[in-house]
Amino acid sequence: MKVLVAIKRVVDYNVKVRVKADNSSVDLANVKMAMNPFCEIAVEEAVRLKEKGAATEIVVVSVGPTSAQEQLRTALALGADRAILIEAANELHSLAVAKALKAIVDKEQPDLVILGKQAIDSDNNQTGQMLAALTGFAQGTFASKVELAGDKLNVTREIDGGLQTVALNLPAIVTTDLRLNEPRYASLPNIMKAKKKPLETVTPDALGVSLASTNKTLKVEAPAARSAGIKVKSVAELIEKLKNEAKVI
């Protein structure tokens, strides 16, 4: 089984971003970047499938700037076999990313595509579902467990009220939720080996993909700040405030 994993380069999750003074976007100058945490889980799941003998090859792909090569190298160090960067500098919307990934799916013919459920920058939660629509594949979003069962893929999903399990025909799309696995760290020897693994760069033009979007960001603002309140000294004072001042109990 061939597995394709899509990853995104995003702001490190520990960084508290600030909005630019001209309200055009958030300030990403000199900010630490990393692989999106849900994408790390996607890479880990593919590597585990390979370790179990279920996957034969892992191809990792990213749509983004030249610098996204760093995150692709990380994925290679974690166990992916080769990497593809679809190089695009501008702000990308989900549909364009899904179309670019569709072109790679057409070329690579994977049996399974694993993506993170959402990127922690744009918080869209769209790309996997869109890729499923464009390919016509079944989708298992917000996966907490993935199991091959004969020619089907059983995916347990995190849903609002608990867990749901669906059986998907292959090829299928899976998007990862937090509890699917705990990603490993790349070891130094593997980081060195990853430098020699193949990393191919292609352009959206060469794939015949348009990056146009129907969405346009007009401005980006800081959210209304919530000011700190007061410290109470005792449980009794807390109850008194909640009853008489806030009137919420």
Binding site: Y13, F142, Q164, D177, V248
Partner: protein, 309 residues
């Protein structure tokens, strides 16, 4: 052109999230049609027809839609959606799974989790875990939108008398099947709809200690939530997670117990009306957003609070 709102339901009753989504549709303006896609879901359609401001209810009733499988619902919804100016669904796990698939079939970009309507084509949505708010304009012929329910006050569930029209267009892609589900059974209110939420974090120490929060919640008629740290540590199941990657809540009262207040957690609860923080670390960032902070050992303060209520 009318607005199509996708109802959230379990084939028996209409979920409140639908009413918040309808509030967003009302702000956009125009005729509002509700779609109920399900199986043996006539009761849901009747409930939807009672909602004030709904002009028509479409009922797509077929076994293929029983479990909201996106492979089956999305093609039907995309086909239907072409004749509408907007397609809206609440940002629930169903809405989040189905709507992007619909958007891609319509060849448009989706606008996810809007919290405000500026005009019929311009919306506000949080990005970077709510650390920034983006204003997004859509030029799509059909605007496909998920609605963050905490951003909109629910419309009245009664006062309308719309006609229910059955639509026959059943679509079964036959590439996915429902196997089973394990739903948390609780007598407490649902997390995203509760007026009071009591949440625990890593400071709870273990899952057993959540009993202190359950007894407090039962005194208050509250739902119980948790931070990602508490979920990651295995104290409680993931469906209790409040935060950027979990549930977004905005109750009247949010009581954060043993939660330090990472930005990812704040993203899920900072729109609560009143926030109480109980934490023994007086430097914890949660105190920066709390209306009332109590620096105390939670294992003393929480039982005391339960006793005094």
């Amino acid at each position: 052109m009318a607005i199509l709102v996708v109802a959230e339901h379990d084939n028996h009753s209409l979920a409140p999230a639908t009413l918040n989504t309808l509030a967003a549709a009302k702000q956009i303006g125009g005729e509002i049609v509700v779609l109920v896609a399900g199986f043996n879901a006539a009761d849901v359609a009747s409930a939807a027809a009672q909602i004030a401001g709904v002009s028509k209810v479409l009922l797509a009733d077929d076994e293929a839609y029983a479990h909201q499988l996106p492979e089956n619902v999305a093609p039907m919804l995309a086909n239907l959606g072409r004749d509408f100016s907007h397609v809206l669904a609440p940002a629930t796990s169903n809405g989040k799974s189905i709507l992007p698939r619909v958007a891609a079939l319509l060849d448009v970009d989706q606008i996810s989790e809007i919290i405000a309507v500026d005009s019929a084509d311009t919306f506000k949505r949080p990005i970077y875990a709510g650390n920034a708010i983006a204003t997004v304009q859509s030029s799509a012929s059909v605007k496909v939108i998920t609605v963050r329910t905490t951003g909109f006050d629910a419309v009245a569930a009664e006062g309308g008398s719309a006609a229910v029209e059955a639509i026959g267009a059943a679509h079964n892609a036959e590439i996915s099947a429902f196997v089973g589900e394990e739903l948390a059974k609780s007598d407490r209110p649902e997390l995203t709809a509760a007026k009071i939420v009591v949440s625990g974090g890593r400071g709870m120490g273990n899952g057993d200690n959540f009993k202190h929060l359950y007894s407090l919640a039962d005194k208050l008629g509250a739902a119980v939530g948790a931070s990602r740290a508490a979920v990651d540590a295995g104290f409680v199941p993931n469906d209790m997670q409040v935060g950027q990657t979990g549930k977004i809540v905005a109750p009247q009262l949010y009581i954060a117990v043993g939660i330090s207040g990472a930005i990812q957690h704040l993203a899920g609860m900072k729109d609560s009306k009143v926030i109480v923080a109980i934490n023994k670390d007086e430097e914890a960032p949660i105190f920066h957003v709390a209306d009332y902070g109590l620096v105390a050992d939670l294992f003393e303060a929480v039982p005391e609070l339960s006793d005094q209520l």
